[in-house]
């Protein structure tokens, strides 16, 4: 019952050759006809529910599934599998057995599900993983992984810090591919600047309360920290600084909770030294993955590769813009305090890719009234990252390097 993780991923060595190796018996199982009278059986399999991120993603998907025309053509069901690989395997098998046409799932493990995914593909089920990725070749992955959050956010921080200072690392959940990859990217950047001293690090488990407790403790031991790098638990981390050192804030990068965005956009706080970046992985990648999957299912879209990129959200403190309505329109990206709780994740919405969703839709999981599903713009394919989203593949040469922020020279 430790901090239950939001996402889990893989990044290891060469992988399975599952293909022909599986000797499965298909007895008794009807082959799902792919489009009987434009009617589809679609499942959403959540890993854990009960935290902000997962809920926002799930609500977005649910809202889309209830948006015309999908409200008529899609028989949609949600299942919560928890954090157990075994449980998720069992649920995915149940879905396959129940004649699913497509399954959108948040994978508990990047590799542990490969066998059941192969089973699904054998039964002609579209298998889509969102946010976290799987290495099974027949599955599709929709994520922001190749947005290189680790490298870009770290470089951004280095730039803001002028290449020197004491910093704290708030890792995610130990033992997950995502944490491993982001750590490698970020630490690779930080190491290049000898002026940057990492004075403390902890595993905040993508949890705000845990992060807050830990930052409070680190500040007590290191009263002079200048920066905190996070992937999630960012708002909690910042809260700890505001409580214990209200007059001298930090450079910080991380998640996109509304309260956090409001803070980093606040001129008064900026004057006390707060320089924040709101980026990291957005829950909107779930609904986006759903749209991609449905277009593939209905034949509107043919994917040429299995790894689809959901663009990495990126809002530095100087680009925060308050919204007046219930959606991200006209480039606004944060809601007033009165509209949403502080922990609401703004990247649950995406005005460009997901115009069907507004605030109420992702808060309640209900379709926005009057909305219909709009066709997607052309999809971008993601980098192949061996052990993360593919097995026998080659990563781009610079996959650990920042590609969005220009590095400053190392100060003397």
């Amino acid at each position: 019952m430790n901090g239950l993780p939001r996402r889990l991923k893989t990044l290891p060595k060469p992988l399975l050759h599952c293909a022909g190796a599986l000797a499965l018996i298909l007895g008794g199982l009807a082959q799902p006809a792919s489009a009987q009278g434009e009617h589809y059986k679609v499942f959403l399999d959540l890993s854990y529910s009960g935290n902000v991120w997962q809920t926002a993603a799930a609500n977005g998907v649910k809202a889309l599934a209830g948006t015309p025309p999908y409200d008529k053509t899609v028989e949609f069901k949600t299942v919560i599998s928890g954090t157990d690989v075994q449980h998720q395997i069992s649920d995915l098998q149940s879905m396959i057995a129940a004649g699913a046409n497509a399954i959108l799932f948040y994978p508990v493990s990047g590799t542990g599900l490969n066998r059941v995914i192969e089973q699904g593909c054998k039964h002609n089920v579209l298998m889509f993983a969102y946010d976290s990725t799987v290495t099974a070749p027949c599955a599709y992955n929709v994520s922001s992984l190749s947005g290189r959050y680790g490298a870009n956010s770290a470089q951004w921080m280095v730039n803001e810090m002028g290449g020197k200072g004491e910093m704290v690392i708030n890792h995610g959940v130990a033992g997950t591919a995502l944490t491993d990859l982001m750590d490698r990217q970020a630490l690779g950047v930080f190491k290049r600047y000898p002026g940057i001293k990492i004075v403390g690090d902890f595993y905040g488990n993508w949890n705000d309360a845990t992060s807050q407790e830990n930052v409070a403790k680190v500040i007590a031991a290191h009263p002079n920290i200048d920066a905190i790098w996070t992937v999630d638990g960012t708002y909690g981390s910042l809260q700890a600084v505001q409580q214990h050192r209200p007059d001298r804030l930090v450079v910080i990068a991380g998640q996109s909770n509304n309260g956090y965005r409001l803070d980093i956009g606040d001129a008064a706080l900026q004057a006390k030294g707060l320089k924040g970046l709101s980026a990291s992985f957005g829950p909107a990648d779930g609904p986006y993955a759903f749209k991609v999957m449905m277009e593939v299912l209905t034949g509107q879209l043919k994917l040429t590769a299995h790894n689809v990129e959901y663009p990495l959200p990126w809002v530095p403190y100087n680009e925060v813009k308050l919204c007046t309505g219930l959606a991200f329109e006209n480039g606004c990206n944060v809601f007033p305090e009165s509209k949403v709780p502080a922990l609401f994740i703004d990247t649950a919405l995406n005005g460009d890719l997901l115009p069907e969703l507004n605030l109420t839709a992702v808060q309640n999981g209900t379709a926005m009234s009057g909305a219909t599903i709009k066709p997607l713009p052309a999809v971008t394919y993601a980098d192949d990252l061996p052990g993360v989203n593919c097995t026998d593949c080659k990563p781009p040469a610079d996959w650990l390097e920042p590609n969005r922020v220009k590095p400053i020279p190392v100060p003397n």
């Binding site: 019952m1 935290n51 890792h171 902890f202 031991a221 909690g236 809260q239 309260g259 309640n364």
Partner: protein, 338 residues
């Protein structure tokens, strides 16, 4: 077996000697040892980071331990009865969610929202107690099952995120200072006094010890076993609820999983504090010391900057080590008092 035979001569002089030892309350010794270990850990952090201030350290350790300090009191009561409460994390989460939903970011509704939330949490505890006392479901399973069930209910109602912020007064409570000392430290002090008095200074506390120590004797004697069992679990629910309120105030926003990381540490704190898992033994001050120790341990580990694997190994080894130290010390005490 040997020990059972040992007191055979107790009614002569050694017995009278031991009467004095008993008056010094031998259970306070483990408390002192565990607290000393915690102090050593805090000092170790100071040595590792000469730049840090000891009082800051201490206050950080104390403030972040408050959730554990409160929740483990309830856990301690159920363990005193020979039971256990595995629903603590879920109840804390539900409490945090409920206070956010009820207060809706307004202080005005706190006067009724806080009692309502705590009553709800105590009611969950009471359901646990009813199942255990009346339906005779083993506590491990009863509380495990009720935790899972109520988590599902909470999920159904809230989808995991409170859509409203926590009342500012609660946030101020957790982040404010008074006379330069963080308010949570006063809260801890007050809570420890109340909890210790309840457990060791009231008739009900005494009867809980009796039930935990000899359940069959208690039933022959006609002690209100069911009532007190229900009371203990209700209090455990209540403490988890208070812990959840504090967590919500501390992190200014509530999620359903906010209390999950509390569960195992509450058990560890109680046991490190010298309680016996099958009941009848252990004082709240011990549990308190255990909670402080765990909080201090986490601080040291954070500052050491190790990989999570090594952190876990160190944490596990230190928990076992703390137990070892205790058993050694108990042995020494026994030798001495005999």
């Amino acid at each position: 077996m040997a020990k059972r035979d040992a007191p055979t001569l107790s009614e002569s002089k050694p017995a009278r000697l031991r009467a004095h030892a008993a008056r010094a309350n031998p259970e306070l010794l483990p408390v002192a040892v565990v607290l000393a270990c915690a102090a050593l850990l805090i000092i170790a952090t100071k040595i590792l980071n000469p730049g840090s201030s000891l009082t800051q350290q201490l206050s950080a350790v104390l403030v972040t331990s408050i959730f554990l300090v409160v929740a483990s009191f309830g856990q301690g009561l159920t363990i005193l009865l020979g039971g256990i409460d595995l629903s603590i994390g879920v109840v804390a989460g539900l409490s945090a969610m409920m206070i956010s939903v009820l207060t809706n970011g307004q202080n005005a509704s706190l006067p009724w929202a806080v009692p309502a939330t705590l009553a709800f949490c105590a009611a969950i505890g009471m359901i646990n107690g009813l199942g255990i006392a009346l339906a005779k479901v083993p506590p491990f399973i009863m509380t495990l099952a009720s935790g899972i069930t109520f988590f599902g209910v909470g999920l159904g109602f809230t989808s995991g995120l409170a859509q409203r912020p926590v009342a500012p007064a609660l946030q101020a409570l957790m982040s404010g200072h008074w006379l330069g000392v963080p308010i949570p430290i006063y809260l801890i002090a007050g809570f420890v006094v109340i909890a210790a008095i309840f457990q060791n200074g009231t008739a009900e506390g005494r009867q809980l010890y009796a039930i935990g120590s000899g359940p069959r004797a208690a039933s022959v004697l006609g002690l209100p076993i069911s009532g007190l069992t229900i009371l203990a679990y209700a209090l455990s629910g209540l403490c988890a609820g208070v812990s959840g309120l504090l967590l919500a105030g501390y992190s200014s926003a509530a999620t359903l999983d906010i209390g999950d990381p509390l569960l195992l540490p509450t058990i560890a704190a109680v046991v490190i504090g010298g309680a016996r898992v099958v009941g009848g033994k252990g004082i709240y001050l011990g549990t308190f010391a255990g909670a402080i120790f765990l909080s201090a341990l986490e601080t040291v580990i954070t500052v050491l900057s190790l990989s999570q694997g090594l952190r876990n190994i160190i944490e596990g080894v230190i928990i076992v080590g703390a137990l070892l130290l205790q058993s050694e010390r108990w042995g020494a005490l026994r030798r001495w008092s005999n």
